[in-house]
Amino acid sequence: MDDKLIIAGIEFKSRLWVGTGKYKNFEETKKAVEASGADVVTVAVRRVNITDRNKENLLDYIDPKKYKILPNTAGCYTAEDAIRTARLARTAGVSDMVKLEVIGDEKTLFPDNEALLEAAKVLVKEGFIVFPYTNDDPIMARKLQDIGCAAVMPLAAPIGSGLGIRNPYNIKIILETVKIPVVVDAGVGTASDAAIAMELGCDAVLMNTGIAGAKDPIKMAEAMKYAILAGRLAYKAGRMPMKLYASASSPLEGKIGG
């Protein structure tokens, strides 16, 4: 199926993007990432432990030559912090991509849209390929598009909540509002949630806890891979219209006893 996802000139092999947090260990992370078939892997930027240098490095398990490493600005509560973190990530990494998060509130982890827009403007000017984590607000999505973001990443539900696509209608409106790719980020709890996102017409889905928080993360990673493929295929196929009453699918002609 020739159905390539290209964002900012970069070709993405999979429409499933995965995070690397919350796993038991790096070995499990690696296996889950492999099972998911994802080629985009998000990572966080943190201080190096200078007192205990024996700690293993995530990139020993997730090969940056094999995967597209997408650093995030997780944990940043101001535009300044997010910009600073993005710049450090670019220096430590291999690409200009950044998943931009400016968090507005600890309890909901909803984005601070005002600060997000401010940080995105600066980073776009500096040549970053900005993937902003935003709420499911079509107006915000349009503003992020207008300032030059490469895609928009609306949340389906709060980060780590697993509540699924809380407002599919807003996601649908975002899809009709912007021309840039839409990547659902956060809130996916199980395979059907991922399929719904793709059936709506989203370009990709990014998830972490949906896989890492499952009883068997490696199995769930595989389930997500198929859900994304199935959802995308169903979107491309175009679903049948919904009807209130039955419509027989077997012909009545030739029925016995007639």
Binding site: Y23, I50, L59, T91, A92, E101, T209
Partner: protein, 72 residues
């Protein structure tokens, strides 16, 4: 002399460069970013940037993460 690395005080020899410090700390310079007094230092400048007393360094790298909630 004393500098601050990642918020912690540390004593280093005079004329230590960033490259020298990373080597001493057994840190692979390819996988980190270094900020000296709030300015990011290009990797190419590590070997010619000499640290001064009271310098503040941030050395960061990538860890597992999806979004804010999911940091290891």
């Amino acid at each position: 002399m004393q500098i601050i690395i990642n918020g912690e005080k540390r004593t280093i020899n005079d004329d230590t460069t960033i490259a020298g410090l990373l080597k001493e700390l057994k840190i692979d310079s390819q996988r980190v970013a270094v900020e000296l007094n709030m300015s990011i230092i290009d990797k190419a400048d590590y070997s010619r940037t000499i640290l001064k007393d009271s310098d503040k360094l941030e050395i960061v790298s990538f860890i597992g993460g999806g979004a804010s909630w999911t940091i290891n």
